[in-house]
Symmetry: C2
């Protein structure tokens, strides 16, 4: 369970930091107000870049916390700049890295209960990770990448994979 979650989160969060660096450089060089990119979207009723990064952080921090039976750290969604988004990622990384493989021992069958859009949700640990956390985490990380790509920033899948 630890191997299937935390190392992948750490790698992708680090890759997102490097992608945000390229995105920031792109708008700075072109004298584009950074807010234009931070509020860019794939579709009018999809979340903008800032929110995609916040949600990527949310899945990365809530999964190991819940699987370890610890309190999920609360981060207020107040980021307004690239620097603040990178600080959010750094804070998330620090938390993910504070969870050890031992903390997740036996969490496959742990009862995971939380509320989602006002509804109570229940999972066992393993399906929670496989069918909820991983698709959600990569969904928001990829959509952040796709938003930045759609804006014109030169990126390749190697940036996403950190290869």
């Amino acid at each position: 369970m630890y191997q299937a979650s935390n190392p992948g989160f750490v790698k992708t969060l680090n890759n997102l930091t490097a992608i945000l660096d390229k995105a920031e450089r792109y708008v700075t060089e072109r004298k584009i107000d950074p807010e234009v990119l931070l509020t860019w979207r794939i579709a009018p009723d999809m979340f903008p870049l800032t929110r995609q990064i916040q949600l990527t952080s949310d899945f990365a921090k809530s999964a190991p916390a819940r699987l370890a039976g610890k309190e999920v750290p609360k981060y207020p969604d107040e980021e307004k700049t690239f620097a603040e988004l990178k600080a959010r990622i750094a804070k998330t990384l620090k938390f993910v890295e504070s969870i050890s493989p031992k903390d997740l021992d036996g969490c496959e069958t742990r009862d995971i209960n939380f509320t989602l859009g006002g509804q109570n949700v229940h999972f066992k640990g393993e399906p929670y990770l496989v069918h909820f956390v991983l698709p959600n985490f990569y969904f928001h990380a990829t959509t952040a990448y796709d938003i930045i790509r759609s804006f014109g920033v030169e990126l390749g899948k190697r940036d996403f994979l950190g290869m």
Copy 2:
């Protein structure tokens, strides 16, 4: 290793089939040539929808094959319609479901060797799954979703998660 890979692939591939059904209905109702959506992209130098689905299929079939030490099935990338893309997904599902948990016993440390863009790539089984397959699989599945969303098709993340 089995639990971290195949059940997630199966679920997401089934969800993509339902998403393609909605996408096809959208163009049919509006008398839009299906090819317009099948060749739609997030950015000019990103792959179009058809290729994103083919690549999602490629990661779903190659991972369990390589982890089990079996031949990776070869599917020619010739799909030109929604029906053909759904048949490609169905074929992929059939293969993924033919691999049993026992086939992946001990594959964490298996040597995985293949070529990527003409270069030899080597992984041990576990980092191959965690740092290569899962990010790639969800990257292409999410980008397929994002392309369809950017086209205007009414979808929500619940379609992606199959909730």
